[in-house]
């Protein structure tokens, strides 16, 4: 047991620093992906409510495709496809070889998938807001954008938050897929450590515990945000939106 713990120490003999740097990359990737996914998801939900048939159709197809294709496949398509596309563009100007940044490729792929799921959540939340809220806003002379910003959006956040919190936990776990495109995240660094030390069970268990730790810390943060978003609802029965994930 002592020599196993020795393997987790900092410095040239231990793997503690490598694994922690991997964990930090995992957290950074998830944090960088979140705003992309949420913003795109919100736009998808708006498109779903649009009068333009093209936008509605686009939103439907986007969400079906990105929720139906395996995450791993998506990451490969974005990574290798982006590589080819970039190569094609750059080759018209110079001969220098280009390489797609794996972090950016992972961020785009995970962001698009996250957007498809959060789009469904926002759509369900929009549907849960009674139309009287829109009408009331219009009746007191607010412009459409103001109704959205002042009346609808605060309610939307409260309704969507529990499901979005779930998606955040899914996102943390999904970051593990980027280890397949040689990005040095927590899982890949662990694999490197296993390759050298030949202690797979111990190291992968440590990695799992670190992922669990991230979930636990997130859960604490999430319940704080939920309390904040529901401060107007104290003492009232709350309506929650649970968005069906894939069907």
């Amino acid at each position: 047991m002592a020599d196993l713990l020795q393997l987790l120490s900092y410095g040239p003999t231990g793997w503690g620093d490598e694994i922690l740097s991997g964990a930090s990359l995992t957290v950074r990737l998830a944090l960088a992906t979140l705003p992309v996914g949420l913003l795109l998801g919100f736009l998808l939900a708006l498109a779903r409510r649009s009068r333009a048939r093209f936008l509605r159709g686009f939103s439907e197809v986007f969400s079906t495709v990105f929720r139906g294709i395996p995450e791993l496949l998506m990451i490969f398509i974005i990574y290798f496809g982006g590589q080819k596309l970039l190569q094609f563009i750059v080759s018209r100007f110079s001969d220098s070889p280009v390489e797609v940044n794996a972090f950016v490729a992972g961020m785009i792929a995970l962001g698009l998938i996250h957007a498809a799921y959060s789009g469904e959540v926002f759509t369900a939340a929009f549907n849960a807001i009674p139309s009287g809220q829109w009408e009331g806003g219009a009746a007191i002379g607010l412009r459409k954008f103001q109704v959205m910003r002042l009346i609808i959006f605060p309610q939307l956040v409260r309704l969507a938050l529990p499901a979005l919190a779930n998606l955040w936990l899914v996102l943390i776990k999904d970051t593990a897929y980027v280890s397949a495109i040689a990005l040095n995240d927590l899982l890949r660094q662990t694999s490197v450590a296993v390759g050298t030390t030949k202690e797979p069970f111990f190291f992968y268990a440590v990695a799992c515990l670190l992922y669990l730790l991230m979930s636990i810390v997130s859960s604490v943060g999430i319940s704080a945000i939920e309390r904040w978003s529901e401060r107007s609802q104290r003492g009232r029965a709350t309506v929650r939106v649970s968005a069906e994930a894939a069907i």
Partner: protein, 248 residues
């Protein structure tokens, strides 16, 4: 007519598809069987048992499936390697040599946790009065569960179970990372030989088709399970004769 790429790799892709279906079906069924004791554990009044089941579910839902697969594939492999002679004697070595069975094990353990949560939620959603009424009618435990609780819980559990199956199909792509030649594995192999990106799009279409088939199947099952909750859309003879006004 058929693109050259499909002529060369099509058959292997279809074989990979078959492996993917096999992988999902076997691990899904084993997962469902494992989920039953887990659900009982989660609902148990014994604090120790329910904490144990909770810990299992929390671990498998809180960590990435890929990490779990590595834990099983390399970790169990490590232990199996130490006992190779004994395992060979028992005839189990065949299973431990093939990455496919490690993938089945990892996926089954993982989906069991998710399915147990679905079962637990569905059973808890059945109103308490249903239990009490059945008990007061003198039903024994098994008929009570099977005839009263299960049909009502199934309605609640069906859609989340369909979701879980879809997630499992998508997640099964990671088996390719531990050398299983499932649909994703064959696709990666074909890509490394042809360096033609469109092979990934063909794979994407196959995955989308699988998901769509399940979605439709589940819609049909949902309609069947909830048939008693819908108002009959066909008019009854009296309505058809115009004797009763049809209320929409």
């Amino acid at each position: 007519m058929i693109p050259d790429l499909l002529v060369r790799h099509g058959a292997r892709l279809l074989h990979g598809l078959l492996i993917t279906l096999e992988l999902v079906a076997i691990s899904g069924v084993i997962g469902a069987l494992l989920a039953i004791p887990l659900t009982i554990g989660r609902l148990s009044k014994n604090r120790f048992v329910s904490a144990l089941a909770f810990g299992y579910v929390y671990f498998f839902r809180g960590t990435p499936l890929l990490a779990q697969l590595f834990l099983v594939y390399y970790g169990v492999g490590e232990f199996a390697g130490q006992y190779a002679p004994q395992l060979k004697a028992m005839g189990l070595w065949v299973y431990l040599r093939d990455a496919f069975y490690y993938a089945v094990l990892a996926f089954a353990l993982n989906t069991a946790a998710y399915q147990a949560e679905i079962f637990r939620g569905a059973i808890s959603s059945v109103a308490r009065g249903q239990w009490e009424a059945a008990l007061s009618l003198g039903l024994h435990r098994l008929p009570l569960l099977w005839k009263v609780i299960a049909p009502q819980a199934a309605i609640v559990a069906l859609r989340p179970l369909g979701n879980e199956l879809i997630l499992l199909i998508k997640a099964s792509a990671i088996a390719s990372i531990v050398t299983v030649l499932d649909l994703m594995g064959e696709t990666r192999l074909a890509f490394s030989r042809s360096y033609d990106l469109s092979i990934y799009f063909y794979a994407a279409i196959l995955y989308l088709v699988m998901v769509e088939v399940i979605r439709r199947l589940w819609n049909a099952m949902d309609r069947r399970l909830t048939r008693h909750l819908r108002r009959e859309s066909r008019p009854t003879p009296t309505e058809a004769a115009g004797l009763v006004p049809v209320i929409e």
